[in-house]
């Protein structure tokens, strides 16, 4: 099964570790920003203004272009009630949409199940990372997880001789013939062959891919290039997932934050240019989120775990602009020293599900949430 060319596609970029909201979208006129940030504030000459209120640090310059084009939605003050300030718990909440209990089903796992209930396409979701992110996890839902280079994705990459590996993989497929009625052996056979099929399908993508766009040779650059390669191959992939980090900048924040965002900005720049050059950008949006924002006041070297953060959605179908507003930096309005979230992340998911993926968001995000209108 291949999807039609215009099936909507979602690319998720997870900023692992807690991206510092205040140094990403800087309220540069707000005196409280400087008051709280003795060690890690961004200097005035390092800020590129979006408008009279907010600016990006200069290392987000490529992302600023998307803002100027009206293709970047900035969601302010994103989070949820009683933010736990733990990486694990927060990430789980974002992945499962379950703030009050430990959930096991990922929201994107549910999306994949909706798109492909009969599991006809084993590459409906493709994840670039060593492990299955809980957002994608759902019993019985296949997801291709690409830990290394796309070119060698599949079984037994440690056999390096190409011809020998092909021979071995052929033997593998014969060893995995499901024997009907053999119970768990049959299941293993089907799963092994599914997996082999997924690898065979994805393997063709790099070969078919031709582009003049140069991606930066960074971890996130390589992942985004992989996304483009699979997307261009028209394999019916609807959800892409990649992570980038670590944004856990407790110490020596400024250079780390700068380098992480430079890599991401340049990667996104190449990615969008690649998509546009191949007329493949109109059905792709990119969701960029982090599990929480960081504390308002710095600790003399970096910033610690906070609550409300910023979420971006980027794409040619996106209505650019600010959505919601930055929570107050006034000490009296802070919760435990943190920005108080005023937009629920599940609202953003709901907009994407409703307006983009054309799915009912309620059962996927576990309830109704106000949808910011960044998509038509």
């Amino acid at each position: 099964m291949t999807a039609t060319e215009k099936d909507p596609v979602l690319v998720v970029v997870q900023l692992t570790g807690g991206n510092d909201y205040l140094n990403t979208v800087i309220p540069y006129n707000n005196g409280l920003y400087r008051d709280n940030r003795n060690a890690v504030s961004i200097g005035d000459n390092q800020i590129i203004h979006l408008d009279g209120t907010y600016g990006f640090p200069s290392y987000l310059a490529p992302v600023k272009q998307f803002w100027d084009e009206g293709k970047l939605a900035i969601m302010h003050g994103v989070g949820y009630l009683d933010s736990p300030r733990s990486h694990f718990r927060s990430m789980d909440i974002w992945h499962t949409c379950e703030p009050d209990k430990v959930g096991t089903e990922g929201w994107l796992g549910r999306v994949v199940r909706e798109f492909d209930p009969k599991k006809e396409n084993v590459v409906t979701a493709v994840s670039f990372g060593p492990c299955l992110f809980r957002a994608l996890s759902m019993p019985g839902v296949p997801v291709a997880c690409i830990a290394g280079p796309l070119e060698t994705y599949g079984f037994l990459p440690s056999i390096q001789d190409k011809a020998q590996r092909l021979a071995v993989l052929d033997r593998f497929s014969r060893m995995y013939q499901p024997i009907p009625g053999s119970g768990v052996m049959e299941y293993l056979g089907t799963t092994g062959l599914d997996s082999l099929k997924g690898a065979d399908i994805l393997k063709v993508a790099p070969g078919k891919y031709k582009s003049d766009v140069k991606y930066p040779n960074t971890s996130i650059g390589r992942k985004l290039k992989g996304v483009a390669q699979v997307h261009f191959a028209d394999l019916g992939t609807r959800v892409f997932y990649c992570d980038h980090g670590s944004f856990d900048t407790h110490a020596g924040q400024n250079p780390i934050h700068a380098s992480l965002w430079s890599d991401l900005s340049q990667g996104l720049d190449a990615f969008m240019a690649d998509l546009r050059a191949h007329q493949k950008s109109d059905n792709v949006i990119v969701l960029i989120f982090s599990e929480f924002g960081r504390r308002v006041r710095d600790n003399g070297s970096g910033t610690d775990h906070g609550a409300a953060g910023v979420t971006f959605v980027l794409g040619d179908a996106v209505k650019g602009g600010h959505y919601g507003e930055m929570p107050s930096l006034d000490a009296k309005k802070l919760v435990q020293g943190d920005l108080n979230p005023n937009m629920d992340f599940r609202g953003i998911y709901s907009t994407i599900l409703d307006k983009w993926m054309r799915l009912d968001p309620v059962p996927i995000v576990n309830g109704r949430h106000e949808q910011p209108q960044f998509l038509n």
Partner: protein, 366 residues
């Protein structure tokens, strides 16, 4: 709890703590060793973790309480010249050049006082001049450097350029034999002291490497009933002062050693979470268990930025666990200031004590 320890004409005053847990910048990440610079400054070699951050040497101005400053960071994680995988030993020669051992690469890298890479040497192996998991390092007044070649259970002496000059020691538990030694220091006469880690003792050797004396024997501090375990390997906090129950002279995996101008010997008794002090004959004098009752300057910055942390502190019933050493790894004595500086490894801080010269005991009826 006592902040002054007084024994046999010597007094030790707790002064202050320096640092906080931090993978870079103003803090530490599991210090393995440290050494004194030429100007009351210190260098700290941090092990870091498997995420490949935190490894580095940081150069710190010490001073009095609140006067600490981060001067430089170098030898950070990496394969290139000037980087390290597992930094371990650090030493400074009389010209201010800084020697750093890499326990994984089995190399010695040399930096200038500002942390700029100059040269390196060392190849892995067990032959003469080769290294296997080098640990502590120390510079001799004549310019040579002694490397604790831990994996080979020996000491090797090199010229500053890395040419082998001499070696001594082999695997074993006899006199002059070693089992995974860790830190090293020299006294003013050039005698060598080595923390013989898995043999649970400190060995004193002559400048020529001849065995002179062993200090300490294996022993674990007894754990009082109902003691509170800070980690499953201690320290154990109890209302009964530990000093009343301890057999003298025991050590559990000693890691670091320092000698003051009077010849008193300071040993970080890592596995027993304390600093043991011996006189120059090796007789036990007392021990210090950590007294960080005042938050470090950089630590306070973390608290100030995090009101929820402050709330939690105010509700803690037993704060004593916070004061105590947790696997202290290294000690230096600064003869110019009479400061004893202890690397409190698992707490990612230094605790500074003063050895008080003119201490007069108070009247008991105050």
């Amino acid at each position: 709890m006592a902040l002054t320890t007084y024994v046999k004409g010597r007094a030790y005053d707790w002064s202050h703590a320096i640092g906080r847990a931090s993978a870079n910048g103003t803090g530490f990440n599991y210090p393995q060793t440290m050494c004194l610079g030429t100007d009351g400054d210190i260098y700290v070699a941090n092990r870091g973790n498997e995420n490949n951050f935190g490894m580095r040497v940081n150069h710190i101005k010490v001073g009095g309480p609140g006067e600490e400053e981060l001067l430089a960071e170098f030898a950070t994680y990496g394969e290139a010249d000037g980087n390290t995988i597992w930094p371990f030993g650090v030493a400074v020669d009389k010209n201010g050049e800084v020697y750093v051992t890499d326990e994984w690469k089995s190399t010695v890298s040399v930096f200038d006082a500002k942390g700029k890479f100059i040269r390196k040497w060392g190849t892995p192996g067990s032959g003469p001049g080769q290294l296997k998991g080098p640990a502590g390092i120390i510079c001799e007044p004549n310019g040579n450097v002694i490397v604790v070649d831990s994996g080979n259970n020996r000491l090797q002496v090199f010229t500053p350029q890395g040419k082998l000059v001499a070696q001594c020691g082999k695997a074993g538990s006899g006199e002059g034999e070693f089992n995974k030694p860790w830190g090293i220091t020299l006294d003013k006469d050039g005698n060598i002291y080595v923390a013989d880690w898995k043999n649970h003792r400190v060995q004193k050797l002559s400048p020529a490497g001849k065995f002179l004396m062993a200090i300490g024997r294996y022993g674990k501090l007894p754990v009082a009933p109902n003691a509170f375990a800070v980690t499953y390997l201690g320290p154990f906090i109890s209302s009964v002062p530990a000093t009343e129950r301890i057999p003298a002279g025991i050590l559990n995996h000693p890691t670091g050693v320092a000698v003051d101008p009077e010849g008193d010997i300071y040993v970080t008794d890592w596995g027993n979470h304390r600093l043991c002090i011996f006189d120059k004959e090796g007789h036990p004098l007392t021990h210090l268990v950590g007294d960080a009752q005042v938050m470090s300057k950089w630590g306070q910055q973390s608290i100030d930025a995090n009101p929820d942390m402050m709330k939690a502190y105010r509700r803690v019933q037993n704060i004593e666990q916070l004061w105590r050493f947790c696997f202290p790894t290294a000690v230096v004595f600064n003869p110019k200031t009479d400061q004893i500086i202890v690397a409190d490894s698992q707490r990612n801080r230094l605790q500074v004590y003063n050895k008080v010269r003119d201490y007069v005991d108070f009247q008991a009826n105050l």
